[in-house]
């Protein structure tokens, strides 16, 4: 192996992975606590969309692509998130 010695180097993707793990744990604990309601839903959904965007940008590598690809993926996320949120709010009435 000819890696240059970099004792304190943590790869960006590793940091992303750590953040994803932490956010998943947060989602899980909200479920465990049995929390529900509009604000909790919006919070969990926001976490989910952030996680999704991180996967898309950093893991799938979309952040280095032309705007078209990012717009397609972004609008998919927005539409799915929007549908989930609005359907949830509809259910409150």
């Amino acid at each position: 192996m000819n890696h240059p010695p970099q004792p304190h180097f943590v790869r960006p993707c590793t940091r992303i992975w750590l953040v994803l793990v932490v956010l998943t744990a947060v989602t899980y604990s909200i479920g465990e606590a049995g929390l529900g309601g509009k604000n909790v839903m919006l919070f969990v959904l926001a976490i989910t969309l952030i996680k999704s965007q991180m996967i898309a940008s950093y893991f799938m590598g979309l952040r280095k692509t032309s705007p078209m690809w990012r717009i397609i993926m972004g609008s998919w996320l927005v539409i799915v998130g929007g549908m989930i949120a609005s359907a949830y709010l509809m259910g409150l009435q």
């Binding site: 989602t27 479920g31 529900g36 976490i47 893991f59 998919w76 949830y88």
Partner: protein, 196 residues
């Protein structure tokens, strides 16, 4: 160049990693899952009580563990791509093997979960919630299997030294598909197991 312009695109700058064809399929798949997610959400709005009660009977631990498993597996695949970009075929194959192994873990956990549900007599016709729960998770489950098949093919080729820093579209293609499988679970888990 023996066969010019075989594919639909020739790695223009700004194109996503992997072959364009896989992106066509990734977006088609995301569209299908997106419609299913929307259908779940809107159907829930008509039966909030039923959904909230049925959701309590799901195994949230196995859902969460599987989310962590897939995220980690996705991370391994990122490392595999990074490795092949530097020309480390062996390292690349090993990371992919790890990802496939985690895929196997996902499958085992999921099978245990399904087994528990089926032996409790739950089926597609139990109620609308379980119809969606089973449809979505089984559909995703089949994608995990498909993704593992693709990754296995990539791994074998990497092991033979079939990829180079200049030519590793195959690795990126398999990786992109696997991330998609991960992405779907990232949304599916909170939607079905947590949000109430």
């Amino acid at each position: 160049m023996p066969t010019p312009s075989i594919t639909l695109h020739n790695h223009k700058p700004g194109a996503p990693p992997g072959d364009l064809v896989i992106w066509l399929f990734i977006f088609a798949e995301l569209l299908a899952f997106g419609i299913f997610f929307g259908a779940y959400a809107f159907s829930r709005s008509h039966h909030v009580e039923l959904y909230n009660q049925s959701q309590l009977l799901l195994n949230r631990e196995s859902g969460a563990i599987n989310a962590l498993v897939l995220i980690t597996s996705s991370y391994f695949v990122v490392r595999a791509v990074a490795a092949i970009k530097q020309g480390f075929s062996r390292e690349c194959a090993n990371w992919i093997a790890g990802a496939i192994g985690l895929g196997g873990v996902f499958i085992v956990i999921k099978l245990l979960e399904f087994n528990a549900k089926f032996s409790a007599g739950i089926s597609l016709s139990t109620n609308t919630f379980y119809m969606f729960y089973l449809s979505l998770t089984v559909f995703h489950f089949m994608h995990v299997i498909l993704g593992m098949v693709i990754l296995t093919a990539v791994m074998l080729k990497a092991r033979r030294g079939g990829y180079t820093p200049e030519d590793h579209t195959g690795v990126e293609t398999g990786a992109s598909y696997w991330h998609m499988v991960d992405l779907v679970w990232i949304i599916l888990f909170p939607l079905v197991y947590v949000i109430r």
